[in-house]
């Protein structure tokens, strides 16, 4: 394994039982790698299979075939280790209604077996960084969507995982909170975290992602850095490029794909430089 490849997905397939089709292929031979210090974007329309990939990486679902490794731990056979290596932020900002922000993060910190000496200073640090102090005792039911999302991020960061998974995390957030979320993601990337970021918003991809894979109907249509994709498909407008690929996918036209290579030198430099960030 390349030392920086924190997520390795190889020929991943996932089939669901389906009332109409008998079996529905949610993922069909998906392969990609994501490295430390980069934001790897999974871009695709609703139902493309992004959430399924991320749920498999988070060990919530089992793959039908293929392999997926996080921090070199297999998601099927070494699920316990994988769970310690990831932080998962889902799109539904799921937090407990009858727990305060502080209690919620503390609870997950304890589940990750953090001792009091480590847990409370880290909580203080995260709460300060994410500007959560003012609502630390507010119960989940009374929080705004933005507050809930911050709590979700704090919960995912509490054990300082090397890999962070954001599943359409900006869905339903207002512009201010969405911008704050993007800033947090970039900050985490700068600390050398590997971030898998799923979205269907082009602008977010352009702002955040170092590399991106375009997922459609359970397959990766193409992947690479944004400039690479633009060059390969002669299309500088990323939104147009996205539609072009989707239409080619629908029509069954072969798409020129690049092999999944290492991240850009710029990203590598960031990784090697960043080890002591504010929210590590």
């Amino acid at each position: 394994m390349h030392s920086m490849e924190l997520v390795q997905v190889h020929k991943l397939c996932k089939n669901y039982p389906d009332a109409e089709l008998g079996e529905f292929k949610a993922l069909d031979n998906i392969s990609f790698v994501a490295k430390a210090g980069e934001v790897f974007g999974l871009l695709g329309p609703n139902g493309a299979g992004k959430t399924t990939v991320l749920r498999i990486l988070a060990t919530i679902l089992q793959p039908s075939s293929g392999t997926a490794k996080v921090f070199n731990f297999d998601v099927t056979s070494q699920a316990d280790y994988v769970r310690y290596s990831i932080g998962f932020v889902s799109n539904n900002t799921a937090i407990y209604d009858r727990m305060s922000a502080w209690e919620m993060v503390e609870y997950f910190g304890r589940l990750y077996a953090l001792s009091n000496d480590h847990l409370y200073p880290r909580m203080e640090k995260i709460f300060r960084k994410l500007q959560m102090d003012e609502f630390r005792d507010c119960p989940g039911a009374k929080m705004s969507t933005g507050m809930k999302q911050k709590v979700s991020i704090a919960r995912a960061l509490i054990h300082d995982p090397p890999v962070l998974i954001f599943d359409e995390a900006s869905l339903g957030l207002d512009v201010m909170v969405a911008r704050a979320l993007q800033a947090i993601v970039l900050d985490l990337r700068d600390q050398g975290k590997c971030i898998i970021y799923s979205t269907h918003i082009m602008r977010e991809v352009e702002r955040l992602c170092d590399r991106v894979a375009i997922v459609y109907k359970g397959q990766i249509l193409d992947s690479g850095t944004l400039p690479d994709l633009a060059n390969r498909h002669n299309q500088n407008d990323f939104e147009e490029l996205f539609f072009q690929l989707l239409m080619q996918g629908d029509a069954g036209i072969p798409i020129r794909r690049a092999s999944i290579g290492p991240p850009s030198s710029e990203v590598s430099a960031k990784v090697s430089a960043a080890h002591h960030g504010s929210i590590r």
């Binding site: 919530i60 089992q62 998962f88 889902s90 539904n92 937090i95 407990y96 919960r155």
Partner: protein, 726 residues
Amino acid sequence: MNWSHIKLIFHREVRDQLRDRRTMFTICVLPILLYPLMGMVMLQVAQFHREQHVSLGIFGYENWPASQPLVADEDQSQIHWKQLTITEEISQTLNQLRISENQKGSEAAGTLSNNFVVDAKLAEKLLKNVQSDAIIWIPKGYDGTFTSTQLVVLSNQRWERSQLAVRLLAEKLDKWHQTSVRDRLAATTLGVSVLDGPGIKHVDVSVPESKRALIWTKILPFVMLVWALTGAFYPAIDLCAGEKERGTLETLLCSPVRRKEIVWGKLLTVMCFSVCTAMLNLFSMHFTTAIVMTQFSSMGATEMVQSLGPLPIHSMGWLLLLVIPISAMFSALALAVASLARSTKEGQYYLMPLLLIGMPLVMLPMIPGVTLTPGTSVVPVTGAVLMSRAMMDGEYTLALLHFPTVATITVLCCLLSVRWAVRQFESESVMFRDSERSSVSQWIRNVWRHRDETPSVNESIFCGLIILICLFFGRLSLGGMALEWDSIVKSTVVIQIGVILGPALIMAAILTRSIPKSFRLTRPRVMDVAVTVMMAFCLHPTYVVVATAISNEYKLGEQTTSMLQQFDSIIGNTSIWYVLLVLALLPAVCEELVFRGFLFAGLMRNRGHVRAIILTAVLFGLSHGVLQQTITASIMGLILGWLAYKTGGVACTIVFHFVHNSISMLLATSSHHKQSIPQFLSWALEIEDGRLCYSSAWCTLSVGIAITLVAWFATRNTIDKQTKQL
């Protein structure tokens, strides 16, 4: 398992539930308020009941013997007598009441014939007109002897007050009659003493405490179990379906906690609330009853107070001990059921089926005469309730005797329920299933389009249930046990081919692509068949011993025993080959094709061989209808299922089943065929009451050989290719 995770989840869930006002209201506040409120209502009703009086209209009181008046002043408090005068209108109505043609209009108002027939509508109208709950009509010529003519009492039994009026009047007339008879006898030479019955002095040796315990031991376990189930269900819905709905379960699933740990953490929470609910209800009910009874005592209801007074403290202790294992079982069941639901609303729909399934087990101990025996101790819940009742009654030796069985069954049920709950949590289709549109036509199209070579798990279970329902109605329509050989043949053929094999055959043709694979028709290994035959011979003595023990424990009714004897007599007088064909071969083929064939093939999917063995055994047992046969057939079903798994098809199980049935038939008919024991078998068989039976030597030896043969099969590799394919 990481117990610190379980502890963390338990603490969080308990704190979360304690912060939920709805849960707290149902679990804590409601029990505390409910019984005092009910007690208050009861006291009010009792007061109301005491003051209730009825209005009784009386026509023709002038015809009543003046020497012994019926209406006395002191009666006014209970019966309000309304002496009515017969007006012209009432006279007409009274005449119209008698609709018997030969009498109509022939008699004057106030007289009565024995052919009196009442026109109900007119009578109701009359009751309303005179504003009475009931009317007593004393016809002319009535002399109080009840022989001259009849008194007529008009009432409307649809009205509760009318029912009460009739009851009070009957008591009044009965009392009047007794006094009248005594007065008349006193005037004769016989005297009043002839009315005295045999002198009985009843001495009740029970102490009031134990009498009170008797009633409470029937009521309280029932109340406690219902509340234990209710107390388990609502937190279970919130902890499973609620978490799914809110999306927090997904967050927990990607944390380092294993699913088993999540289940245990949640289970302990649910159990904690279930125990609390049951105990709070118990205390609240008991405390309220004690106070209400004291109140009743002051009202003069001493008999009721004696029978329902406060429960002895040690009895409460035994009840509290019972609540823990029962709550554990119900909690695990509730958790597994609740995890099936996608939302709290959907979860609530599952409460009623769970209550309906649990209710018979809770009601069984309440049936008069049901006590703790080896038979009842193996019934889940029932055994535990009966054991706690035995403890409450002070029958400690009996309770201790059955404690190992009850404890084993209860722990086993708890573990199975927990295992089921864990499996639900591990199942992706349960945890992440989305809302599905229900369309029957689409479903049928899909079932047809996606037929497999063998049935699916659901199809197998559905087929098993269809067969059980068809058997129930089939047996009812055939009218019980046939007592003629032709009827036996007819009913056996109809049941075996039409009811058992038929549905499976139809489903295999429609729902699967390969009938041979669906029925697991494979060529058996010769050695397997040979060993199977030997195993059937060697296991039969053990089967007979077990069946006899079960029959002794669960006694057959006299009628059933007599019918079985007649059945033996009929088959004894028929050609043995014909009997073996109809009663040994036909059931062996049909039942094995269905239970170890079609149903087994579906249930075997996804490495579900343990599920297949257990479920087919239970369904096979239930298909036999009679309780005693159900138990023995289920045990036999386990052996046949295991054999079917090891041999990979139904051929060996058909052979085993046929040999087993044949031996049973030969032994059952032995007394009629007057068979003598061949010399070479004299060591294995003996004659008892004219019937062939196994010698003790063979019984012992056969167990050893059977174990060896089972071990031989156990060491053989399973040759079920289907398992590998699926």
